[in-house]
Symmetry: C2
Subunit: 343 residues, 2 copies
C-alpha cells in the first residue's frame, strides 16, 4: 500500500506490468492464469491498493458470483444459526452470500426473490415458508435461477431439498418417550406455518400406531410466529383443563415447548422425568435456549451444519456443471435425541 489508490484496472495494469485482459481473467478465476503470472499479480496487489469495481464487474455478466440466501425469519435463532453456516460455506467456495430474511411474512419472501433477481445471483438457497400458494412463484424463480431448498420442502419444486428426516426424528423421540414412561400426546399449532409441522404430525401418528398406542393430538389456536406465546396460552388452557390424555406431551417444536414450560411453571406443575414430576414435555429442534429452560428441554437436535453445508455444496455442484440436475435430489439428515430433564 505504498502507492496512491488506483482508480481502475487499467491503472493497475500499467502499475503491475500485466495486461488488463489477463488481470480480468485473474479476478474472475485466479487459477486460470499461469502460476508465475498469478504470483506477480498477487505481489502487485500487496503493493497497490486496488479492487475491481463490483458494479462494473457484474454489469455485463449474466451470472454473478452472488448467492442469495433467503430464510423465513432471522429473529428465529434456528434460522440465524443455519443462515450463518450457509454464509460461511458460500464464502469458502468463493461466492458472495446475500442473506435476506422474510421476517415471517410470505409476501416478503416474494419480494426478496424479486430483489435478488435484479442482483443476478448465480444461485439461491431458500428456506421457504412452504405454503402451497407460494409454489408457483418459487418455481417461476427457479426457472431463471437455480434454487436449492433447505429446512422446509416443497415437494417436487426446485433443484434439490436438504433437511431433517422428520419421520426418523419424531419416531426416535416417540420411541424414547414410550420406553421411558407413558406414550406422548402431540401438541402443535392448528394452522402451522411450515410443512415440517405436517410431517411431524404424520410421523407421530404412524409412530404411535407402530408402537401400538393410541395417538392424541392437541392443536393450539393462533397465527403467526409467536410460538412461545401460543404455546404458553394454549398450553396453560389444556393443562388447567387436564385435557392431555397422558402425562407426556411432545411439542411440534421447541418454541412451543418453551412456552408450555413457562405455563407449567406458572401453574405450579412439576415438569420432568424424575419421581415427583407430574408432566413430561419434549420438543423438537434443539433451539439454542432449550438448554436453559426450567427444566432443560429434552428434544431432537438437528444437524444445522450438515444441512447448511449439503445445501450449499449441492448448489455449487449445479453451478460448476453449468447445467441443472438431471433429477431432483432430496437429502435428509437424521435428528439426534437430546436427553435433558424435561422428559
Amino acid at each position: 500500500m505504498e502507492q496512491r489508490k488506483l482508480r481502475n484496472m487499467e491503472e493497475f495494469a500499467v502499475a503491475s506490468g500485466i495486461s488488463r485482459p489477463t488481470l480480468s481473467k485473474y479476478f474472475n478465476d485466479p487459477a486460470s492464469v499461469r502460476r508465475s503470472t498469478r504470483e506477480r499479480i498477487e505481489q502487485a496487489l500487496k503493493q497497490y491498493d486496488y479492487r475491481p469495481n463490483v458494479y462494473a464487474v457484474n454489469q455485463n455478466r449474466s451470472k454473478t458470483k452472488n448467492i442469495g440466501v433467503v430464510v423465513p425469519n432471522l429473529a428465529d435463532p434456528f434460522f440465524s444459526e443455519i443462515g450463518r453456516e450457509v454464509e460461511l460455506a458460500c464464502l469458502a467456495a468463493g461466492y458472495s452470500p446475500i442473506l435476506l430474511s422474510s421476517h415471517g411474512n410470505p409476501k416478503q419472501e416474494r419480494d426478496n426473490l424479486e430483489a435478488l433477481r435484479s442482483l443476478k445471483p448465480a444461485g439461491v438457497l431458500l428456506a421457504p415458508f412452504g405454503r402451497v400458494s407460494d409454489r408457483a412463484d418459487i418455481e417461476a424463480f427457479n426457472r431463471d435461477v437455480p434454487v436449492v431448498l433447505f429446512d422446509a420442502n416443497i415437494e417436487g419444486a426446485c433443484e434439490a431439498f436438504v433437511g431433517t428426516d422428520n419421520f426418523q426424528s419424531v419416531d426416535l423421540i416417540v420411541e424414547y418417550l414410550c420406553r421411558s414412561g407413558e406414550p406422548p400426546c402431540f401438541f402443535e399449532m392448528k394452522s402451522p406455518s411450515n410443512p415440517n409441522a405436517n410431517k411431524r404430525r404424520q410421523s407421530y401418528l404412524e409412530s404411535m400406531q407402530r408402537h401400538g398406542h393410541t395417538p392424541h393430538i392437541y392443536q393450539a389456536e393462533g397465527e403467526g410466529w409467536k410460538f412461545e406465546a401460543i404455546g404458553s396460552i394454549e398450553g396453560a388452557r389444556l393443562m388447567s383443563a387436564r385435557a392431555f390424555a397422558t402425562n407426556t406431551v411432545l411439542c411440534s417444536n421447541d418454541r412451543l415447548a418453551i412456552g408450555m414450560l413457562s405455563a407449567a411453571y406458572g401453574l405450579g406443575i412439576a415438569v420432568g422425568h424424575g419421581v415427583g414430576s407430574a408432566l413430561r414435555i419434549a420438543g423438537h429442534d434443539d433451539h439454542p435456549f432449550s438448554r436453559y429452560t426450567c427444566p432443560s428441554l429434552t428434544t431432537i437436535g438437528q444437524d444445522y451444519a450438515a444441512i447448511a453445508n449439503r445445501a450449499a455444496s449441492t448448489l455449487f455442484r449445479i453451478l460448476d456443471a453449468e447445467t441443472r440436475l438431471s433429477e431432483r435430489e432430496e437429502t435428509l439428515f437424521d435428528g439426534k435425541l437430546v436427553m435433558r430433564d424435561s422428559a
Copy 2:
C-alpha cells in the same frame, strides 16, 4: 406486463415514448420530473416489465442508494430485532439496506466494513463491538462514508450515536429493587464484549451510592457470546457458595440472567419477589425470551424501534444535507421498567 421483457432503458424509452434521460431522472428521483410525465412513466411501468440494471446504475455513481447495516451478532435476538427495524426505516426512506452480521467476531466487523466499502454505500448504521482497538478502523471508514453508531457507543467517533441511557435505566431498576426488597448485587462478565456493560457497572455503583447502599459486584469468568452458559455456570458457582451479599441480583443483561435463572432452578432455589422466594434476579434488555423464563424475568425494556428509527433518520439527515454534522450528536432513550415475577 403484456409485452416482452425490455432489456434496457433505451427499449423502455421507445416503448413508453419518454426520452431516456428523463427516465433516468425519474428513476433517480421520481419527484424530479413533471407530475404528468411521472404518471405516464408509471403507467408504462405497469404495462411493460422493466427495471434499471442495478449494476449499471451504480457503476458511475460515487454514492449509491445503499445503506450498510452492521450488527455484532444476528444470532442475538436483540440485534435481529433492531436490525429489522433499521431495515424497515431504510426501505421506507427509499434506500436499500444491506444487513451484515459480524457473528460475534471483531475481525468480521472490519471485513464487513471493507465489503461495504466496495458497495459504495451512501451511509452506514453500525452497532459496533466498541472495543478500543477497533476505533481507528471505524474512524477511518467514517472518513469515507458517514457512519451513525447505535446500541454501543464509541466516544467521539463517527457522526452520531443513538442508544439507551444506561445511567437512567440501571438507576431505575436499582431504585425499584431497593424499594421492594434488599438492595441488589451486580452480576456481570469479567471481560465484557460491549461498552454498555461498563456503563451499567458504573451506573450501578453510582446509583447504589446515591441510595446509601454498599455495592457488591460479582464478575463471571468466560469469553465470547455464550452469555447464558456463562451466567449458568458462574451463577451456579456463586449461588452454591452463597457468595451474594444480598438476596437480590441485578444481571448486566438478560442473557446472563436467563443462564442464572436456569442454574437457580437446577439448584432448587426459589426465585421471585413473593413470600417463600429466596432470591430475586433481574436483568436488562427485555430479551424476547425473558417473558418465558421461569419465573418470568423482571428487566429493563429498551425501545428498539425508537433507537432504530432515530439512528436511521439521523443518517438520512446527513445524507440529505450532503454534509457532515457540524457537531457529533448523541441521543439516549430511556429504558422502561418491565416488572415480571423474578424480582
